[in-house]
Amino acid sequence: MSKIKERVLRAQDDECKTSHRDKQRVSVVTNATRKSGKPGVTDVKGAVGSVLLTPPDSEAVRRKLESQKGVLGKSSGKIEFIFYKILLCVLYMLYACARYTQYHYNRAKILILNLAYSPSNTPQLIRQDVLKLQKLPKRLAAIVEKKREGDVGGGVSGVLNDGSDLVAWTISAGIKHLALYDFDGHLKRNVDEFRKSVFHKLTKYYDPSNVPKFAIRIPQWNKVYFNAPGQEADDTTSKKVAIEISLLSNRDGRETIIELTRTMADLCAQNEMQLSDITMKLIDSELTQLVGHEPDLLLYFGPNLDLQGFPPWHIRLTEFYWEQDNDQVTYSVFIRGLKKYAACKINVGK
């Protein structure tokens, strides 16, 4: 059914040309505070203010408040209401204090871990760490995020740097497939810079005259690039690569599935395809061709798990790993994720 794939890709291309701006991302609530889960005084004040001033979500409470009937008389309902609201504010403050302590505890832990695990640009160290593990994931995926322009490691160059770090670690660990996801598709759009950046990073890790070969695949545009610009492999023998990297973005998620539905519906309506042809297997194989295989382990380098619209079909049994309150792409998270994967047991349904 290569026809379906072609049509979906074409439709996506057209759409990409018409709309350059992507959707605004809504992050998961627990990542809402600017300083990644560490509640500041302003946050507490804001929460308290919003609780005190906005009506509650619960319909029952609102109805009760309107009917103005309390246990003790006419206005006691209101007093009860205010009493509970104040108690909620107190609970919020207590929670914020607890969270604050937890945040600092986690940060201290991460600092120590970062000291303990440092690859310092040597692949041997990474391979040694990995050799202790029982099993490795076949396919690895990671979500990278663009930080604010002014921050350390922020902006597009920060994303490129994080991505190439991950590529270097993955090659050194001996994993053959890596999918890098970023919501806005910065990596895709700057693929030439990314190739240069990966090449540069690899020359730091390996012998500059014999840098591992890599292929970068962009499923959305159905393109494959080999190595850094200017060093493309021309014959088939040198197309043997140490790693295959696919770059994903928000468009490979829901939008691809919707485009696939549209295409299939259209084909069915025009009798070019039978309804009975639509099977789970077909959809799975189409989505595998359009987006890629399901990763075994998904690493996230933010403070709280936030999938950010990662392709939903592809996270069926994927193991997630993230370090609470961490906000940097570091090797310690990477290796600890691999360790967790090595220890986990997957029994599908049994």
């Binding site: 809402a32 929460a47 203010g49 509650p56 539905t261 519906a265």
Partner: protein, 362 residues
């Protein structure tokens, strides 16, 4: 009247059964330890401690006080923001049974009790939609005996929930129940029973409960795609008009398919296991807990809800730029005490000290 009596009788019977099941999970008196081995003495002490605790908790006054505390906490939480859709992955029933060396069936029963308790909490809070992952399509790979146990348990519990939903004294009154999933995989008899229960509770409007029984999220998405293609073929729905909302409304959870605010997964695995993929992958908060499902109690759930509620308030505050109090305060300040504009011209500054170069000194 007779009808009413009968239903209240059944509720009594069910309550009694519930009590019996709870009774079964009570720690039993341990055998007297072998005096010479310190390990066995420690074990004995631990078992006795557990017994003491369960005895204290079973005292009428203690359980009454606990219930009061629980109600107060629920009332407090009600005042803040509430998640619209809460979902549970009930994992760890078998391990729970194994840890107490009980048959697998009683583990599942204990899990059902936990679900009922949490449903009560959600209903009291005013959460509109709750869903629970009862059985995955992959679970058909389990031993036939266990599959049968699970199906019969589901039938039993469905009846119980339906009775409670109709009983106006119960905490679950007004609940609407819906069993979603690949219904063709279960027996016709059970299907009929489920349909009748769904019809019984179809009037309920206080809370929507989805039991996902043989369900997987991929299967759900597949069915939605298939249905969309079908409407395009036979009902002339233009294929170009299919968008996110159309596809989402074709999913099994209907209008609640788009988003799940809070997903709780117990027993320590950090994966979704083919559940709520579409609902959670954008900005749903997933809470992984290492407690086994039957042990997942009110307090832990309360902590999760408080966390969610706190961060949601913060986010709402951030999103709404019109907080009354601050605005009025700023406005008042500006009108009552107008501040002088802070424009400074360079001529107004005092002249800097004399500039002396080191190099030119000679």
């Amino acid at each position: 009247m007779v009808e009413h009596n009968r239903s209240s009788n059944t509720v009594d019977v069910i309550e009694k059964e519930l009590k019996q099941t709870k009774e079964r999970f009570k720690p039993k008196a341990p055998p007297f330890p072998y005096v010479l081995s310190p390990m066995s003495i420690l074990e004995y002490a631990h078992a006795q401690k557990l017994r003491l605790w369960s005895f204290i908790l079973s005292l009428a006054c203690v359980s009454w006080a606990l219930l009061q505390i629980q109600m107060t906490l629920t009332n407090i939480l009600k005042m803040g923001p509430l998640p619209e859709h809460v979902s549970f992955i009930m994992d760890g029933n078998r391990r729970y049974a194994k840890s107490l060396s009980l048959p697998v069936k009683s583990g599942h029963e204990a899990g059902a009790i936990t679900l009922l308790n949490l449903l009560t909490v959600c209903r009291a809070l005013g959460v509109k939609t709750v869903s629970a992952y009862a059985f995955s399509i992959e679970n058909f790979n389990r031993p036939q005996e266990e599959v049968d146990t699970l199906t019969s348990l589901l039938a039993e519990k469905l009846d119980e929930v339906a009775r409670r939903a109709q009983d106006c004294n119960s905490e679950l009154f007004g609940l609407r129940l819906c069993v979603v999933g690949e219904r063709s995989r279960i027996s016709k008899e059970l299907n009929d029973r489920i349909s009748s229960v769904e019809r019984m509770t179809s009037e309920g409007d206080s809370m929507m409960l989805y039991i996902c029984f043989p369900y997987t999220s991929r299967n759900d998405i597949y069915h939605a795609i298939y249905d969309c293609a079908e409407t395009a073929k036979y009902h002339g729905f233009p294929a170009a008009q299919i968008d996110e909302s159309v596809l989402t409304n074709h999913m099994m959870l209907r209008e609640n398919s788009n988003n799940c605010d809070l997903l709780v997964r117990t027993s320590g695995h950090t994966r979704l296991s083919d559940y709520m993929l579409w609902q959670v992958h954008q900005n749903g908060h997933v809470e992984f807990s290492s407690t086994l499902w039957p042990d997942y109690g009110f307090l832990e759930f309360f902590r999760v809800l408080l966390k969610w509620s706190f961060f949601t308030s913060v986010q709402r505050r951030r999103n709404s730029r019109r907080l009354l109090r601050l605005h009025t305060a700023c406005h008042l300040k500006e009108t009552l005490f107008p501040r002088a504009p802070k424009h400074v011209s360079i001529e107004d500054l005092p002249s800097p000290p004399q500039a002396i170069s080191v190099a030119d000194r000679s």
